[in-house]
Amino acid sequence: MKIKLDPRTKLYMIFIVSAVVMMSATTPFLWAVRILMTVIPIILLMCNKRYASAIRFLFLYAVALVLTFTCITEDSKGIFMAFLVGYCAIIVQFAPAMITAWYVVKTTKIDEFVSSMQKMHVPDGITISLAVVMRFFPTIKEEYAAISDAMKMRGIRFGGGNAVKMMEFRMIPLLFSCVNIGDELSAAAVTRGLGGKVKRSSIVDLKFKVQDYLLIIAFTAVLAVFIYNKYFMK
């Protein structure tokens, strides 16, 4: 079963999840809602056959949750505990946003994204730049790996322990390749008619379907519950 969502639904999901992440869950009920909210993108990942990342996220989130609830109290001391507390807190707090963002970035094709932004009348400048940012994180990672490999071949490990050198050796080549890739990218984009004066047509036809409406309702409910509990239940 493959669930295909409208990019606008996905953006809405990101929006809601980021808003909810800012509010801390105080009661068991809110925790339940929060966990439910985290499970939805994981299920969606599974539906799109991304089992590996879905299971990894599930595992990470579950471990952090269990640790947070069982063995961490406010007076836990020591460096190791501080680390553990810090990481678990970060994961529990931000995992929903992380997983949703991951899901959206991995399953949205750039053309879908651009045409949905067009439909929402977002200015071209923002759309194109944002599409480039989304596309560019994996590229940076690849380039960085390539640079590390090159440095290993050359026998440079940590820049001789010099922090400034360490940064320089990595950053400068990275910038070089990024600038070049940018030039190629814009050449390719212009060839495909981006930035022309005519309104572009799109090969993908975006329509809301049942699953889109269901998810929008579900996430709106989550936000409503959180706001209600946070501000009106005192």
Binding site: V85, A89, A97, V132, V179
Partner: protein, 196 residues
């Protein structure tokens, strides 16, 4: 004149440098889990590290709007990664102001670029806004989500209403210092290679 309008190439440049800047910010942000004072020292670290891409970016900026778009993108990314919407006005404000300053020097004057980079660096302080403005509920949130009392105390000793002014000034100063540093690096590496 069509030259004044932003073209696709400019948008792509903005996108790329925003991505790089965010990676820098994220890498520095990871260190913050060790100790809250490191969180406060972002104002020094990020301008100094981020200055290199920023100065390279400035050499590519020739029209009004590029820095503004960058700040809008930063605001969006900060929101999506869960830093909240409180800082967004500051980020975008700093971006527009930086853009205007750079424009008054026609994007060529180095002095104006230094100032502009200093102003743009203020966006880093937007990270602190949730800590300062919603101090009480933020603290409760941290304690509930499992941070130790000690971490919280230190965090709030380092960042509060009194210190935010200092942090803003530090941001600006190190943004300016970073501009010189970045300029030197760009000169050393990129001008020689003929990329700029």
């Amino acid at each position: 004149m069509n030259d004044k309008k932003l073209k696709v190439k400019d948008f792509i440049t903005v996108g790329i440098f925003t991505a790089i800047l965010f990676v820098v910010e994220f890498a520095c942000g990871m260190l913050g889990f060790f100790h809250p004072y490191i969180v406060a020292s972002y104002v020094i670290m990020i301008p100094l590290v981020g200055c290199i891409p920023m100065m390279l970016f400035y050499t590519k900026v020739e029209k009004f709007g590029m820095i503004t778009i960058m700040s809008v993108l930063m605001a969006i990314i900060m929101f999506v990664t869960g830093m909240g919407y409180l800082g967004a006005p500051l980020i975008i404000g700093a971006g527009v102001l930086a853009d205007l300053i750079a424009m008054s020097g026609k994007y060529k004057s180095f002095k104006k670029t230094v100032l502009s980079n200093g102003v743009f660096s203020l966006w880093i302080c937007a990270n602190y806004f949730p800590v300062v403005i919603t101090a009480k509920s933020y603290r409760e949130g941290l304690l509930e989500s499992g941070y130790s009392q000690e971490y919280c105390d230190n965090l709030f000793r380092a960042i509060n209403f009194k210190t935010i002014g200092v942090l803003l000034i530090l941001c600006f100063v190190f943004g300016c210092v970073g501009a010189f540093l970045g300029k030197a690096v760009v000169k050393k590496h990129f001008e020689k290679a003929g990329i700029v």
